[in-house]
């Protein structure tokens, strides 16, 4: 398998890595660059756990060839916290008990971020649609939907969301 030099941006940093033609973005990020926040759930494009943003679009890293990301900006959950601390989504996931075992959480956050970046005032249905490709086996999804809606409200207000303290 031939190799090529992949030039891209990872969480804002310019990079150039030698990648094999058959190497997936998951393999590159998680297993070679130790970006462990990108988690492997199924390696067959069905669970959404490895979701990252490629030029702002949510992508399944496990079925994305790294070589197709030439010149792209790739964002993982490591890029979420800003200078003021946690991203509104991260704070809302904590406040709404949206992370239980935590394994789907980073993929879920990136799917939600892709939505809020283009639609700051999503409806409940739009939130459900945006995370529809991400499987969570713990929460039953309701706390996640509540968290995304609360994060949207908080982001619009320019503040961290108020703690709702839903406990089920």
């Amino acid at each position: 398998m031939s190799h090529l030099t992949l030039r891209y941006r990872l969480n804002g940093n310019e990079r150039a890595d030698l990648v094999a033609g058959d190497e997936t973005l998951l393999s590159l990020l998680r297993y070679r660059l130790d970006t462990t926040s990108v988690r492997q759930g199924c390696r067959q494009g069905t669970c959404g756990t490895c979701t990252v943003l490629v030029d702002g679009e949510p992508r399944l890293a496990c079925i994305t060839l790294a070589a197709t990301c030439e010149g792209c900006a790739i964002e993982t959950a490591d890029s979420l916290p800003g200078s003021g601390g946690l991203h509104p989504l991260q704070q809302a996931f904590m406040d709404h008990f949206a992370a239980q075992c935590g394994f789907c959480t980073t993929g879920m956050l990136m799917a939600a971020k892709a939505l809020l970046d283009v639609n700051p005032s999503p409806s409940r249905e739009e939130v459900i649609d945006a995370i529809g490709g991400n499987i969570c086996r713990c929460t039953g999804y309701e706390p996640i939907v509540e968290a995304v809606l609360a994060a949207a409200t908080a982001a619009r207000a320019g503040a961290t969301p108020p703690a709702a303290h839903r406990h089920c």
């Binding site: 462990t36 492997q40 993982t76 704070q91 904590m94 992370a99």
Partner: protein, 524 residues
């Protein structure tokens, strides 16, 4: 969330500092920042990967195996077979002091379910390990297989597991776990209506987003470390110690963050063999299920078939229940015999029934071994008996909520498995649920309480016909065994004495106790 402090106020001290108040999870910040470390995040330099050659057959004799070509493939470091495993046959049940050993970590002589591991390849990469697994030549002689619990019990059925000698688990000389309480026949004769229904539940996979796995590695001073996503760290430590015949103080298990378990990560299938690989290669070894293996091979909640025959009076009282439960263990025990005991004890449900007869069998079939999953044993029984409750309510023209309140256990009632009811709360739960659902219930039922009208006559153990002798016990040399002889396989008793296997195990502290004693009593 609503806290009903008015309920059971007399049973509770008002000194609770945490209950009723929100508390942040201690791991939430790690989860939302992606910093929580799961076992795979402990990947090490020089780490090898272990994959398994698995049986394509549901039931087959292994005639021969040739690993020579696989061993020569690029990247292959070591191949493990049953001969490398210090304790060749094991059972998880020993963790609760029970036997018999019935499952090889790597199969020899025979495979008993599709996907059973026969050999393990340890290689420099996962693809190299998988390719070498495919190159292992195994000559199988397919055997008749059985997939249905009742067919497995019929005479002439293929014998699944020689270590039991029959297709069911032996409960202290009985071929089923029994509950005998009162006189069910007299109850049916006195009943206004008698109905019998059949229920069944398929196996259910936990499907955690993180598949099961571990990383084992040599540590210093002859010790080994194992990062694992087991849900039961000390179960897994003890299981590995027994299979490896190595003192547990030479094994350092590190667990903690589990990417979804639900009972599916207690069987300790990865740790012993990954540790064995680390010992034999002196390098870190990772073993992890693919998603396909998680679905096909990891133990599910077992299938169950349940027959319930009930006698009910026109006034709504249930007066007799006769239940037969068939729990499908798959090919090996894992924790299924314990689940079947729970199913038997739970069969009356949270309801007072004066005459109860339950036979719960744990049956071996050629399906994937089943094991723990969120209330296993009880969940299938609950499904069956709550559907039955709706049918009974309809039969006597009762409201389903009122019917449950009427028949609920109250404090002081004797349960069919001889435990006195304490802290009953079903009546209050149904009353609260009815109110929240705007479901009208009669004043008489709204006035009922778990703390009143129980005990007394209901605290008695009713006259119960004497227990049958364990006459239906089938000896190890059952006709089924004779029908499917395995010339290469010694009978179970001989296996435990053979030189290839360890001397008889030292019983645990609880060894020899009755399975039924494991159920315990809820304490405040």
């Amino acid at each position: 969330m609503e806290f009903r402090k008015d309920l059971f106020a007399s049973e509770r001290n008002e000194d609770l500092n945490e209950v009723g108040r929100p508390t942040q999870r201690q791991d939430a910040l790690g989860h939302v920042t992606g910093r929580s470390r799961f076992y795979e995040d402990h990947a090490m330099p020089g780490m090898l990967h272990m994959k398994f050659a698995r049986s394509p057959h549901h039931h087959a004799r292994i005639r021969s195996m040739d690993t020579a070509a696989a061993a020569r493939m690029p990247g292959v470091v070591r191949i493990l077979t049953a001969d490398d495993v210090p304790k060749r046959v094991h059972t998880l049940l020993i963790l609760i002091g029970l036997g018999p050993d019935d499952e090889p970590p790597l199969a020899f002589d025979k495979v008993r379910y599709r996907g059973e591991p026969v050999a393990a390849v340890i290689a420099e990469s996962e693809p190299a390990a998988s390719a070498a697994c495919a190159a292992i030549r195994i000559d199988y002689e397919p055997l008749p297989a059985v997939f249905d619990v009742e067919e497995a019990l019929a005479s002439g059925a293929p014998l699944v597991n020689e270590y039991h000698g029959r297709n069911w688990y032996d409960y202290e000389g009985h071929d089923y776990q029994k509950i005998r309480f009162g006189d069910v026949e007299a109850g049916f004769r006195a009943a206004d209506h008698v109905i019998e229904e059949r229920y069944q539940m398929t196996p259910i996979e936990h499907a955690p987003t993180e598949t099961g796995g571990c990383i084992a590695a040599p540590d210093t001073a002859g010790r080994y470390v194992c990062y694992t996503n087991t849900q039961a760290l000390f179960f897994s430590l003890e299981t590995a110690s027994r299979i490896l015949k190595m003192p547990s103080n030479r094994l350092h298990f590190v667990g903690g963050t589990v990417g979804g378990g639900f009972g599916g990560k207690v069987d300790s299938v990865h740790e012993p063999l990954a540790l064995l690989g680390a010992m034999l290669t002196q390098r870190p070894v990772r073993s992890a299920y693919t998603r396909a293996e998680e679905m096909q091979v990891s133990s599910p909640r077992g299938a169950e078939r349940i027959y319930i025959k009930d006698g009910v009076m026109n006034d709504g009282r249930i007066v007799a229940r006769y239940a037969r439960i068939y729990c499908d263990a798959g090919a090996y025990s894992r924790l299924s015999p314990y689940g079947a005991v729970k199913a038997a004890a739970h069969m009356p449900g949270p309801y007072y029934i004066p005459n109860v007869w339950v036979d719960a069998r744990c049956v071996y079939t050629n399906r994937t071994p089943s094991s723990a999953m969120r209330g296993f044993g009880v969940t299938g029984a609950d499904f069956a008996l709550e559907v039955q409750m709706d049918k009974l309510a309809r039969l006597v023209g009762a409201d389903p909520m009122e019917f449950r309140i009427q028949n609920a256990y109250r404090d002081g009632d004797m349960k069919a498995h001889r435990r006195v009811t304490k802290n009953a709360a079903l009546i209050e739960c149904v009353q609260a649920a009815a109110r929240l659902a705007d479901w009208p219930i009669g004043e008489r039922f709204q006035a009922m309480s778990s703390m009143r009208d129980g005990g007394g006559e209901r605290a008695r153990i009713p006259a119960t016909p004497p227990p049958e002798a364990p006459a239906r016990r089938v000896p190890a040399a059952a006709p089924e065994a004779a029908q499917a002889p395995l010339a290469t396989m010694p009978p179970p008793a001989a296996e435990t004495r053979s030189a290839a296997t360890p001397p008889p195990r030292t019983p645990l502290a609880g060894a020899g106790r009755r399975m039924s004693s494991l159920l315990g009593t809820r304490r405040r």
